[in-house]
């Protein structure tokens, strides 16, 4: 509690600054997330953000987003470049080079064709939603045609940030006790491609990627008597499509993808994940003025299940052949849209795990807003959400423009 008060006193919210050069935005985030079980801070930090979109000579533009981070929970202070890229705009094409956050796909908080790196630690800790996305470094080319457009990206490998034991408690870890660790990260570029357009009011996209799994596979040097654990990221190609458009006064969403684990197409390799199909169907509708609801059904179908089960190392509980997930999003705006009440829930009937996020957000003024929410995990520790069931938390953050 004392740490939080110190944080509040020293952050720039109490310092008045003169207005700066046009189109540089500076704002301050004060973020906290407290674990309900033991009252410890999962996140306690101040982020001073500077963003700008600057037109340079000719058709060049420079954009950047920088965070100056004071991490009170980790006892650290550092700068984080969220984005920094140069753009050249042609008549019907554009090329960007540098660090950029990229998002595509039409599902809500479930990812099929968005194969770009994510920060799940931020998501499960309760940092603002923008921190779920991790930036990519590379070249990003877009072509805009009449009716159809395309994106082609070439990026360096970036892995997902997963919840770590220095912030989260009692995370299941089958590999404790193995003294040596080695991590092998791919050196080749990851490629992602999309072609998209609108057909009869429906947004249609077709996706392809050639890259690597964003989460590691674990190889023990000797499974009977392991002394070294190697983390590697096997090859992954994805192929998919999505459709989104109006239906019966609401919005219908369909997305599908095939995850092709190219180094283990037979499913016999116990270390490398098997290929899988992912399918999602959802709809969203405004039920009453300023009240929207959305539901999704998602399924993940593991291929070559028999091979998977027969090569599973002893002591590892098998995942289901099909993981089903339902999600519900509710959002209500009140008081001239200054107060936002929202809820997002994941529930898996096949695994019995769930993750619920109720949240309240209020815009106190045009420059200051506050958000309060709760992350609730439920399920056995062998399930994806249940693994975090000792980490239910309450999060609070403010955003102040300077």
């Amino acid at each position: 509690m004392r740490k939080f008060l110190i944080l509040l006193l020293f952050n720039p919210i109490f310092i008045s600054t003169p207005s700066l050069a046009t189109n540089i935005d500076i704002f301050d985030y004060g973020l906290t997330s407290t674990r309900l079980g033991d009252g410890n801070a999962i996140v306690l930090e101040n982020r001073l953000r500077m963003e700008q979109q600057a037109s340079l000579t000719g058709a060049f533009t420079l954009q950047y987003k920088l965070d100056g981070v004071q991490d009170m929970a980790g006892g650290d202070a550092f700068a984080e470049v969220r984005e920094a890229y140069l753009t050249y705009s042609g008549k019907n094409w554009e090329i960007h080079g540098g660090r950029k956050i990229v998002t595509w796909g039409v599902a809500d908080l479930l990812f099929i064709n968005d194969v770009f790196p994510k920060n799940y630690e931020s998501f499960f800790a309760g940092r603002p939603m923008e921190y779920l996305k991790k930036p990519s470094d590379g070249i990003f080319f877009s072509y805009f045609g009449k009716g159809w457009s395309a994106d082609f990206f070439s990026t360096t490998f970036e892995k997902d940030v997963l919840p770590s034991s220095n912030r989260f408690r009692r995370l299941p870890n089958p590999f404790t006790g193995i003294p040596q660790r080695e991590k092998i990260e791919p050196e080749k570029q990851e490629l992602a491609f999309r072609i998209y357009g609108t057909l009869k009011n429906f947004d249609v996209s077709v996706y392809f990627s050639a890259g690597y799994f964003n989460q590691p596979s674990f190889q023990m040097d000797d499974p009977q008597n392991p002394t070294k654990l190697t983390l590697l990221f096997p090859r992954l190609n994805t192929y998919g499509l999505s459709l989104q458009g109006p239906a019966r006064g609401g919005l219908l969403t369909i997305e599908a993808g095939y995850y092709d684990s190219t180094k283990d197409r037979s499913g016999n390799n116990s270390i490398i994940p098997n290929s899988e199909f992912r399918l999602l169907a959802g709809c969203q509708k405004e039920l009453a003025t300023d009240f929207t609801a959305g539901i999704q059904y998602y399924a993940q179908w593991l291929q070559d299940y028999a091979s998977y089960k027969s090569t599973l190392p002893p002591g590892f509980p098998p995942q289901d052949e099909i993981r089903h997930i339902f999600t519900l999003r509710l959002m209500r705006l009140l008081n001239y849209q200054t107060l936002r009440l929202s809820f997002f829930g994941f529930y898996s009937p096949s695994d019995g795990d769930s993750f619920h996020i109720p949240e309240v957000s209020y815009a106190i003024s045009d420059t200051l807003s506050i958000t309060l929410g709760v992350n609730l995990f439920h399920g056995s520790s062998f399930t994806p959400f249940g693994a975090l069931n000792s980490n239910d938390s309450i999060y609070f953050y403010f955003r102040k423009s300077l």
């Binding site: 939603m129 805009f144 989104q244 405004e286 003025t289 929207t292 849209q337 045009d366 420059t367």
Partner: protein
């Protein structure tokens, strides 16, 4: 510039640029809306394809996650960015949705007006039961509109505060009478919204490609100030 003012004088600002293309007179329209203020909506852009007699297609760009999101065709009665104007007040209500009756000719603030009554054909399609408009007889612009609920009580009042005749850059034609400042007041809450145009231009020759995903992500500098 939209100023949202509560009963006790507390103000919020919404600064935006709106580009509108009439694809067909009285028919399909395309809207591109770019927010420059306040900072929590800065660089957010909306794209709307409006069709007569059919739900709109709408897209929103969220700069924080660089995501273009399609949004459910919302209730047209819902407030436009938290102001006292609804989506329909901003983009216009389809003529076929109401039945009209000319009540009388009158004088308002010294100006000769037509007093026109509009009643929604489907009571659920609007947030009012009856609207009485005072339309300037010379230039056919509404000077005042009173919105009544089912009990006949006036709950919302619209007023035109400043009108200007704007001639397109081409110099062709007599120009368009444009409402440069308008106010919508909610009589029940005492909240009001004042909309002022700092700049407006017609027949600019907006290219069709502005109303696409490319410009949702990167607003066209040429048209956005």
């Amino acid at each position: 510039m939209m100023r949202l003012i509560s009963k006790d004088g507390k103000e919020r600002l919404r600064e935006l640029t709106m580009l509108r293309k009439d694809v067909k007179e009285g028919g399909e329209q395309k809207y591109f809306i770019y927010f420059s203020q306040p900072t929590d909506v800065k660089d957010m852009t909306f794209l709307i394809y409006k069709y007569p007699g059919k739900d709109d297609d709408r897209w929103l760009f969220i700069p924080a996650v660089r995501l273009v999101k399609r949004i459910a065709a919302s209730d047209k009665r819902s407030s436009f960015v938290g102001s006292d104007f609804t989506y329909e007040d901003v983009s216009g209500r389809d003529l076929e949705d109401d039945s009209f009756r000319l009540l009388r000719e009158d004088v308002l603030d010294g100006k000769p007006v037509y007093v026109l009554e509009s009643t929604p054909k489907d009571p659920k399609s609007a947030n009012y039961s009856r609207k009485v408009s005072y339309i300037d007889r010379a230039i056919l612009i509404p000077l005042k509109e009173e919105y009544s609920d089912a009990t006949g009580k006036i709950f919302k009042v619209y007023t035109t505060d400043v009108i200007q005749r704007l001639v397109p850059k081409s110099g062709k034609g007599e120009g368009y009478w444009t409402i440069m400042k308008r106010t919508m007041k909610d009589l029940t809450s005492g909240h009001r919204t004042e909309v002022s145009f700092t700049k407006a231009e017609y027949d600019v020759g907006l290219p069709d490609d502005i109303f696409t995903e490319r410009y949702l992500r990167t607003p066209p500098q040429k048209y956005i100030q």
